[in-house]
Structures are given as structure tokens and as C-alpha cells.
């Protein structure tokens, strides 16, 4: 690993100033499970590393029936996966977090890091898309909020400006009659990257499915919503096997996967359909129970 200067700021403003000052030569260190691997492989060679570890208030999960869920950017994946409220109301997020690496990795990896790294295959990203996450972004100049759909601009890139730092994620409250699921196509049960990841979330209103959200990972340059499929599910009542199949096909059609050493684009497209059908059905079942 190439050597670097190491900073441990104690405020977001301080971190932001450093990041802006060394723009292009500095990287933020959250959990380190992407950055340190990159530095060892010399695909990342920052001259300055700014740790977010010592900034108070970046870590933690709070929930309020009125305002919803707030997850600090430095919250560990393991904390998300084991949190009772998240497991109950934001299930896809707990399941997405649980798909990241191993327990040891999830004790290090953070939600902010996973999202900020902007991998198209990020397991938590699909869940954030379907749970309507708002991304809180801080800098020396203040705060702004970006909806998760508008965060990613390409593989490894986001709308963050120089000096901006993801500080938290906010999620609207989810009623008891809502449900969600994240499923991932993989070869190994644990420790595999997503060949395809699909999250779905629904709310039931008088038995009708509303507010369907379907998020896809690893099938486009960024995590994306399958809006066509969402519309199909919302439009029809009841959601029959045929409707699910239509939605699955729409999601496949909306995906833009590539072929790589893991599998072909054609296979990914097919799996998008399968997992869309399965996650929507499970989300509905969970909303009903």
C-alpha cells in the first residue's frame, strides 16, 4: 500500500474542508472494506485519507412513528441487519445489509460507505431505492438532501460535489401494512457479489397494492428503479400470477445489464424477471401478515 497522510477530523465541516482542500488526492475512510482493498490493489492511491470515525453523530439508528427512520452514514451493516425496527418495517434494508460480505465485514462496512462507493452491485442500494431513502449530504457550506434515485451518476460516481460527505439516510415512516424484500442472485450463499440484486416494496390499501417500488442492482451502470414494472403492479388488482409475470418482463426489459466474467447479460435479464416476481410476491405477503 502506498503511504498517505491520515486525518481524523471531529466535525463534518472539518472533514469537508480537508476533502475540498485535497480534492482529487483525498479519500474518505468509512468502514474501509472497499477503500483499503483498493489501496492494497493500488487501484486507489490517495495521498490523504480522512477518517470519519471520530465525528460524533454519524453513527446510529433512530426511528420515530411520525418522521420515520434515520440511519447515520457511519452505521455498520451489522447494526442494520440486526435492528428490530428495520427488520420489521424496512425489511429489504435489513436483508440488503445482511448480504454484504461476512459478519466480520459487516462489523466494519457502513451504509454510507456502501452507497458512497456507488457500485452498481451495492446490496444496500436496491433497498434504499425501494424504501424512498433521502440522502443527507453535509459540507463546510451546509446541508442538502438528495433523493436516492438522483444520487448515482455512473459506476463509482455520484452527484456529490468536492467537499461533500454523506452524513445520513432518512426514510419515510412505513405503515404496518407494508412489506419489502431484497433477493440476490449469487453462487456462494455467503460472500458473493450480486450477479443480480432485486428489492421490492409495497403498501396495501384495502387489499390493493400501492406504492410499489422495485429496485435493481448489478444490471445497469447504477442501481435503478424498474418503474414500468412498478406501474403494472400498482395498476392491477388483485396481483395475479399473470400480472406478476408482466411486471417481471417489464423489469427485465428495463434492465441494461452487461456480460462479464460472472455471467451473460441475457442471464442477468432473465434473473431480473425471476427475482422481481419473487420479491414483489414476498413483499405483498409480508404486507398482509
Amino acid at each position: 500500500m502506498r503511504n498517505f497522510e491520515f486525518f481524523e477530523p471531529t466535525t463534518v465541516e472539518e472533514a469537508s474542508s480537508l476533502l475540498a482542500q485535497y480534492n482529487g488526492k483525498a479519500r474518505l475512510l468509512a468502514g474501509g472494506t472497499d477503500l483499503i482493498i483498493g489501496m492494497k490493489a493500488r487501484t486507489e492511491m490517495p495521498e490523504y485519507v480522512i477518517s470519519l470515525e471520530n465525528i460524533p453523530g454519524l453513527d446510529g439508528i433512530t426511528y420515530d412513528e411520525g418522521s420515520g427512520l434515520r440511519v447515520g452514514a457511519m452505521t455498520k451493516m451489522r447494526a442494520l441487519e440486526t435492528d428490530a425496527i428495520i427488520r420489521d418495517r424496512y425489511t429489504a434494508l435489513a436483508e440488503g445489509a445482511a448480504e454484504v460480505g461476512s459478519i466480520q465485514i459487516r462489523h466494519l462496512a457502513t451504509l454510507g460507505g456502501n452507497i458512497g462507493h456507488a457500485s452498481p452491485a451495492a446490496d444496500a442500494a436496491a433497498a434504499l431505492l425501494v424504501l424512498d431513502a433521502q440522502v443527507q449530504i453535509g459540507s463546510a457550506d451546509g446541508q442538502r438532501t438528495v433523493p436516492i434515485d438522483a444520487l448515482f451518476t455512473g459506476p463509482g460516481t455520484t452527484v456529490l460535489e468536492p467537499g461533500e460527505i454523506i452524513t445520513a439516510f432518512e426514510f419515510p415512516p412505513r405503515p404496518a401494512n407494508s412489506g419489502s424484500q431484497y433477493l440476490k442472485q449469487k453462487i456462494r450463499e455467503v460472500m458473493d457479489l450480486a450477479f443480480v440484486g432485486v428489492a421490492s416494496a409495497v403498501t396495501l390499501n384495502d387489499g390493493a397494492v400501492e406504492n410499489t417500488r422495485i429496485g435493481l442492482a448489478a444490471v445497469a451502470p447504477t442501481p435503478i428503479r424498474a418503474t414500468e414494472a412498478e406501474g403494472i403492479i400498482n395498476r392491477y388488482h388483485p396481483v395475479t400470477k399473470e400480472i406478476l409475470e408482466q411486471a417481471a418482463e417489464a423489469a427485465s426489459a428495463q434492465s441494461r445489464p452487461i456480460s462479464d466474467l460472472r455471467c451473460s447479460a441475457e442471464y442477468r435479464r432473465q434473473i431480473v424477471g425471476v427475482l422481481t416476481r419473487r420479491t414483489v410476491q414476498t413483499a405483498i405477503n409480508r404486507a398482509q401478515s
Binding site: M1, R2, N3, A41, R42, Q185, I187, R188, E189, V190, M191, D192, L193, F195, L261, R262, C263, S264, Y267, Q270, I271, V274
Partner: protein, 765 residues
């Protein structure tokens, strides 16, 4: 109940405490005062001329102490690439620095000027005339041309009559078979028994398929490492994590021109080997060169990525296989044409192609095998080298035939299995073996005979055979005043062999196992011991240990006879003491008392020794049954049940033997289902654990192991080597189970989910 008191028991291993407390010292745990850290400069191109090597920038980096290239190899033996590289990762130079990060930085600063060449990675492409060629003198004739050539030679040698017409015709035919001139051939082997053409003609059913097996890495958990220390007198010490310290000694000595007396290899505890940890080139030679140049100890440790690009993995292969049988299930003929991907150098495993004959009475057999050069690192042994690949082809094809003639897979195999005295195709007569017992045992344990399956579920059965190796070894035993027994030897514990040796010695000397300790020497102090590979150790060192213990017994009895004033044949060694057989009143003396007494005799301490070279070993069979469930929408395959039986001769430590069976089975499962080193024109594209998938505990259920004991006449207490056989059937076991679940055969491993989906589509499902 066993007639034995220590062997045949699952005692805890001799190294138990060290292994569970972190005390065991592996290669990278060795730290020497003043030690430097080495890093190897590697080729970034799979095939290129080297036009220049510039080390000047690297030398300027503070902390860098030496850089070595081929120019530093005084013997001229090839260590580093000079004018041409043949694969990504090929060593070009090595750097030593005061810190591992500095060494890494310096290695990056060595500038290599490349002129890139076309690349060939696929064996079937590599044998074509138009492909890039890696070496000269690389063309060979294919099977048909070989037959014609042999006939032509016979005709032209025969001067008794005129064959000119036939010669002319055959010559024309020979020349027309242009696509049978194979290029990039590194090695070839050919075997024939009976007449396959006749056999196929007599068959009711003939099945022909091409099977593709990927290159996989042994993936021992400890990457290669060595620490070398050359002192001012020229004496070189190498701490090596290796399967064969004596092979490392001779290898390093030969490569660098160091006299054997001037090199001592100190073996460390080894973090897995599986056949891949014998080589001298990967870290040992560079470490010695750097130490010689700097006069300081140097550690060279490979990263996992370096393991993938410059380890010596198991070769992949393409096997064209044809088998003929009768409708009532008799195999009549089998013909194989195999192309082994040996990488940039002549490689391993090609000789195992003959094992495609399995343990069956195949009267007509023909095997042609070729090693093929490609732009990859060389290959070496991996657990029963070559056999998992050919058993996959052979056992898959048998499964196809059984399906086609409507015969049960186990019955079909039992019907064709050889028994004692049967002719081994292209071999000798079969000794007493437990083939049928082993297959029946797994079928019974798995519930094969009344198996049930739900939708998308399938059962698979397959077998694999192997014979443990044999080699020279020596052991010393001494008995001390407290009655403790000390064993001293130079072989490397390969996951339980030291324990087996200790058990054997305890058994023969009738002492409690806990009283026996074992010390591993280095190559300066210990007698020669054969390398720990080829399932050799328990057989060879076990026999050696038994001889050494028996020798110790002789000394004990002689000493006791003197002490108890009787003759040795009136004495019995039992329960750790020597008793007089016919005497009133009874008298006895403990081993401790005897050892104390020995110090005051003219004879001196109780020391026994054993030396062993070789005896014929007996083949062993592994048989497996798997039950799987396939998700027909994603193609994922889940193992529901895995049962693995093996004829081990005699299990000296059943728990350790089960561990070998379970571990080998899971390695085979991984080869079948997920592992694959992938290459393109840029080299290996998955050099890490993210895309080279090794299974975790979450991927499998409990593996049920079944020990079958048909004693080997020459094994210690009847034991056979057990390490290698369990990996041999699993590739086919899994493939056969998947066929049973989805109704279509996948002939290219690994059976990744996408291939399952493609197969289902092909089958119109």
C-alpha cells in the same frame, strides 16, 4: 472390538494445542533479526518480448537493499524471465527492502519494456497451426496419424514383399490429415489394450462426448512463503512452508549451485498443500538470491493474487471420450483423447489420463493424451493429480450409458468392477481390493436403494480410484527415564500424519499415546523423508515408524533380559512394561526404569531406528452419492445430501480419516460447481476470492463419511494413504446428480447457474 489399543482410535492430534492457541509457527510467522522483505517483479503481459529492464528508479527508493535479475543467477539456470514472458505473473526480477510496503513500491518502480505478442489461452485453439507458438519443437501427430505412421513403418521395414501401393495410399492419407498435426504440444502419452474398434463394433450402444474441466487452484490457505538467511561462510538456511523440505533442499541447491552441505531447510508448520507446495521457484530461490546479495535474512511472501497468477494450479483439460457397452450393461470399449492445458511449461497430470479406465473390466481401451502450451502459469499436482478430471469424464459417460440402457447406476458399476485377479486394462492383475464393498457401503448409507426425490431434485453416484505413493524415509525413536517415547523424523505433518506415526509407535511399544511426543527435524538433522504428497506419508512413514518401534522393542527386550537376568524370548512387552513370561514369582520392569538402567549399561540409551524405501501399495476406491435440488428459474443447485465412502485399508485415526474424506469431497464439490480460473487475452481475470469462489460452510450440508476397511497387505496395520481419493469422484457425482434433476447433461464444468438455465432451455423447459 479392535485388537489394538492405540491405532484405530480417534485420539486428539499431537499438534492439537499449538493449532488451537495460535502457537503453531507457519512460514510467515518466522521473523529473523534484521530481516528484509522481498517482492517479485512480475510480467504484466501474457505473451511478450522483454526489450528492457530498468531498475534505476527502484534502486533509488529509500529502504531498497537489493534487486536481483537473471544476471544474478550464476548457474545460468532459469529463475527469472529475460527475453520473453509467457504469462502474466511470470517473475522478471525481485526486490528486497526494509519494509514490505517499500518492497512493493520498489517492485512497481522497476520498468519493463514489453513488445506484446499474440496470446493463446484455449487448448483447442493452441493446437491449431495458426496460433501463437510458445516454444519450438512443439508439433506432434494426432491419434490417426500415429496409427498410419506406425503402419507405414511396419510396411517399409518389411522387405519380404512389395507394399508400395499401400504405402503410397497411406502416405497420401497421412498427409491429408493436416488437422491432426498438433501445435504447442508439451508432452504426449499413449496407451492401448485390446482393439477399441472391434469393441465399439460389438457394442449395442456407443456414447461419445467432449468434457471440459477448468483449471483450478489448490487454494491452500497459507500463501507461499520462505525466509532465507545466507551467512558470510556461504551457508544458507531456508525456513520453508513446504510439503517436501528435502526436495526444496535439492531444488534450491541445484538451481543456485549450492552444495547440499551448505544448505539447511527448516520446515515450518504448513498451511495446506494439496500437491501445490513442492516447488522451489516460487519463493525459495528468490529469497535465497536476495539474502545472498544483501547478507541479511529475507522473507518472500506471496499475496493471494500472486498465488493465482503465479501459483502452480491443477490443469484444466478437454477430454473427448467414447464408450461402448452392451444392452445388458457390459462395458466393451473405451477411447479417450485428452488435451491438458499445461500452461507455459510442460505440465503435470497428463499421465493420469489412463485412469479413465476406472476400476472396470474394459477389454478394449485406447488413450491418447497431449499436454498443450498456453499463456498461463505452469501447473502441478492437486490431490490425486489428473484423476478428478478424467473420472469426471469417465463416470459421467457411464451414467449416460446406464440411463440409456435403463440400468441402475450402482448396479451397472458393480457389474463391471474388477475383482481380485482380474486383468487391469493396460496393466497388471488386480490385487485384493474393496471396490464393491465401498460402492455398496455408500449406496446403503445414502439410502440409494429406496431413494425418493421431489420436483427438481436428483441423485448422483460416482466413484474414483487412486493408489497411494511410496517413498524413502527414516525415523529415530528414543525412550527416556520417565518412560516417555520421543520420535524424531524429517517428514512434514500433512494434517494428521504425525499423529498416525505417534499412534503406531505407541501401539508397538504398548505405551499410552500421551507418553509419545514427536519432533520434526530440519534437513541438516533429520534422516531423509519423502515429500508429503501422493497420500504417501501414513504408508511410508507409518511403515518406517513401525520398523523403528520394532527395532526399539528389540533393544528394550535385550536390555530387560540383561536386567531381569533371563533370555529375551522369555520376556513380553505389554502395557508399557517388560514382564518375565515363565517365572515364579512374576517380575517386571517399566520402560522408564529400563531407560534409567540403560544409562548405566555399556549399551547406552534406548534408541531405535527405522528405514523404509518402498513396497507395493494397494489401490483405493472412493464412492459418493449426492442428492441435489435445482432452482429451475435461477439455475442454482443446492446439495441436500452428500455421502462419501472410501476404502482406507485400516483407519489408524478414524476421526482424521473422516476429516480427509469430508475435506476432499468438498474440494471436489467446489470444482464441480463453482471454482474456475478464468483467462482472457489479458491473463487471469479472477485472481482473488471474490470471483474465484471457494465454498464456505454455508454452501453445504454435513458430509457423511463412511469408512470401509479392506486391509492393504503392505500398509502399516493394513492402512492405505487416504488423502487423495476422496476428491476423485465428486466432479462426476455432482454432474450426475444435476442430470438426474434437470434431465440434461452439462459437459463443461463448473456447473454454474447460468449453464443450468442454458441446458434447461436447450432441453425446451
Amino acid at each position: 472390538m479392535s485388537e489394538y489399543s492405540v491405532v484405530g482410535k480417534s485420539v486428539p492430534r499431537v499438534d492439537a494445542l499449538d493449532k488451537v492457541t495460535g502457537a503453531a509457527q507457519y512460514g510467515a510467522d518466522v521473523h529473523r533479526p534484521g530481516m528484509l522483505y522481498g517482492k517479485i517483479v512480475r510480467s504484466k503481459h501474457p505473451h511478450a518480448y522483454i526489450r528492457g529492464i530498468d531498475t534505476s528508479e527502484a534502486e533509488k527508493l529509500p529502504g531498497v537493499r537489493a534487486i536481483v535479475t537473471q544476471a544474478d543467477v550464476k548457474t545460468g539456470r532459469s529463475v527469472f524471465a529475460t527475453d520473453k514472458v509467457l504469462y502474466v505473473g511470470e517473475p522478471i526480477a525481485a526486490v528486497a527492502a526494509t519494509d514490505p510496503d517499500i518492497a512493493e513500491e520498489a517492485a512497481e518502480l522497476v520498468k519493463i519494456d514489453y513488445e506484446e505478442l499474440p496470446v493463446v489461452q484455449d487448448v483447442l485453439e493452441a493446437i491449431k497451426p495458426s496460433t501463437p507458438r510458445l516454444h519450438n519443437d512443439d508439433t506432434k501427430d494426432g491419434p490417426a496419424r500415429r496409427v498410419i505412421k506406425a503402419r507405414l513403418k511396419k510396411l517399409s521395414d518389411d522387405e519380404s514383399q512389395d507394399h508400395s501401393a499401400e504405402i503410397e495410399e497411406l502416405t497420401a492419407k497421412f498427409e491429408s490429415l493436416e488437422d491432426e498435426v498438433y501445435y504447442n504440444i508439451s508432452a504426449e502419452t499413449h496407451t492401448e489394450a485390446g482393439d477399441v474398434e472391434k469393441g465399439f463394433a460389438e457394442s449395442d450402444i456407443v456414447v461419445e462426448d467432449t468434457y471440459v474441466v477448468p483449471r483450478v487452484h489448490q487454494t491452500y490457505m497459507e500463501p507461499h512463503v520462505s525466509i532465507a538467511e545466507a551467512d558470510s561462510s556461504g551457508k544458507v538456511t531456508v525456513w520453508a512452508s513446504t510439503q517436501g523440505p528435502f526436495a526444496i533442499r535439492s531444488g534450491v541447491a541445484g538451481t543456485l549451485g549450492i552444495p547440499l552441505t551448505q544448505i539447511n531447510v527448516i520446515p515450518t508448520t504448513m498451511g495446506g498443500g494439496f500437491g501445490g507446495r513442492f516447488g522451489v521457484a516460487l519463493t525459495h530461490v528468490p529469497a535465497v538470491l536476495l539474502s545472498q546479495k544483501t547478507g541479511r535474512p529475507v522473507r518472500v511472501q506471496m499475496t493471494r493474487e500472486e498465488e493465482f497468477v503465479d501459483g502452480r494450479p491443477a490443469p484444466g483439460c478437454v477430454i473427448k471420450l467414447k464408450t461402448g457397452a452392451t444392452n445388458d450393461g457390459r462395458i466393451l470399449a473405451r477411447q479417450a483423447l485428452a488435451f491438458w492445458d499445461s500452461g507455459s511449461v510442460s505440465g503435470a497430470s497428463i499421465g493420469s489420463t489412463i485412469r479413465v479406465r476406472g476400476v472396470y473390466k474394459i477389454p478394449n481401451l485406447k488413450v491418447d493424451a497431449y499436454g498443450v502450451y498456453t499463456n498461463k502459469s505452469g501447473t502441478t499436482a492437486y490431490r490425486a493429480p489428473g484423476t478428478p478430471q478424467v473420472a469426471y469424464a469417465g463416470e459421467s459417460q457411464l451414467d449416460e450409458i446406464a440411463r440409456k440402457i435403463g440400468m441402475d447406476g450402482v448396479e451397472f458399476r458393480l457389474k463391471n468392477m474388477r475383482e481380485e485377479g482380474d486383468q487391469i486394462p493396460a496393466g497388471a492383475k488386480e490385487p485384493k481390493v474393496g471396490y464393491k464393498e465401498t460402492l455398496k457401503a455408500v449406496a446403503d448409507a445414502a439410502g440409494w436403494w429406496n431413494r425418493e426425490k421431489g420436483p427438481n431434485q436428483g441423485w448422483g453416484v460416482a466413484i474414483g480410484d487412486w493408489t497411494n505413493g511410496c517413498g524413502p524415509g527414516g525415523i529415530y525413536i528414543s525412550v527416556h527415564e520417565d518412560g516417555s517415547v520421543r520420535i524424531f523424523h524429517g517428514s512434514i505433518d500433512i494434517t494428521g500424519t504425525d499423529t498416525a506415526i505417534a499412534q503406531i509407535v505407541a501401539e508397538v511399544l504398548t505405551v499410552p499415546y500421551e507418553q509419545v511426543t514427536i519432533t520434526r527435524g530440519d534437513t541438516d538433522s533429520a534422516p531423509y523423508a519423502t515429500g508429503s504428497g501422493g497420500s504417501v506419508v501414513t504408508f511410508t512413514m507409518g511403515n518406517t515408524a513401525k520398523l523403528a518401534a520394532e527395532d526399539t522393542c528389540q533393544r528394550i527386550l535385550a536390555l530387560a533380559a540383561e536386567r531381569l537376568n533371563t533370555s529375551a524370548d522369555n520376556l513380553e512387552l505389554k502395557d508399557g512394561k517388560v514382564s518375565v513370561l515363565v517365572q515364579d514369582p512374576p517380575r517386571s520392569i517399566s520402560l522408564g526404569e529400563l531407560a534409567a538402567y540403560s544409562l548405566s549399561t555399556t549399551g547406552g540409551p534406548i534408541v531405535g531406528k527405522g528405514s523404509f524405501a518402498r513396497k507395493p501399495s494397494t489401490p483405493a476406491l472412493a464412492a459418493q452419492i449426492a442428492k441435489v435440488e435445482v432452482d429451475p428459474e435461477t439455475g442454482n443447485v443446492r446439495v441436500l445430501k452428500m455421502v462419501s465412502s472410501q476404502d482406507v485399508g485400516f483407519a489408524i485415526n478414524p476421526m482424521a480419516v473422516e476429516g480427509q474424506i469430508e475435506g476432499g469431497t468438498v474440494q471436489g464439490y467446489a470444482w464441480a460447481m463453482m471454482e474456475e480460473m478464468q483467462y482472457d487475452e489479458k491473463g487471469n481475470v479472477n485472481p482473488g476470492f471474490v470471483d474465484y469462489r471457494v465454498p464456505t460452510s454455508a454452501d453445504l450440508p454435513t458430509v457423511q463419511s463412511v469408512i470401509v476397511e479392506v486391509p492393504a497387505p503392505n500398509g502399516p496395520f493394513g492402512a492405505k494413504g487416504v488423502g487423495e481419493p476422496p476428491i476423485t469422484p465428486t466432479l462426476a457425482t455432482m454432474a450426475n446428480a444435476v442430470v438426474d434433476a434437470i434431465g440434461v447433461r452439462i459437459t463443461e464444468l463448473p456447473i454454474k447457474p447460468e449453464k443450468v438455465i442454458d441446458a434447461l432451455k436447450q432441453n425446451g423447459k
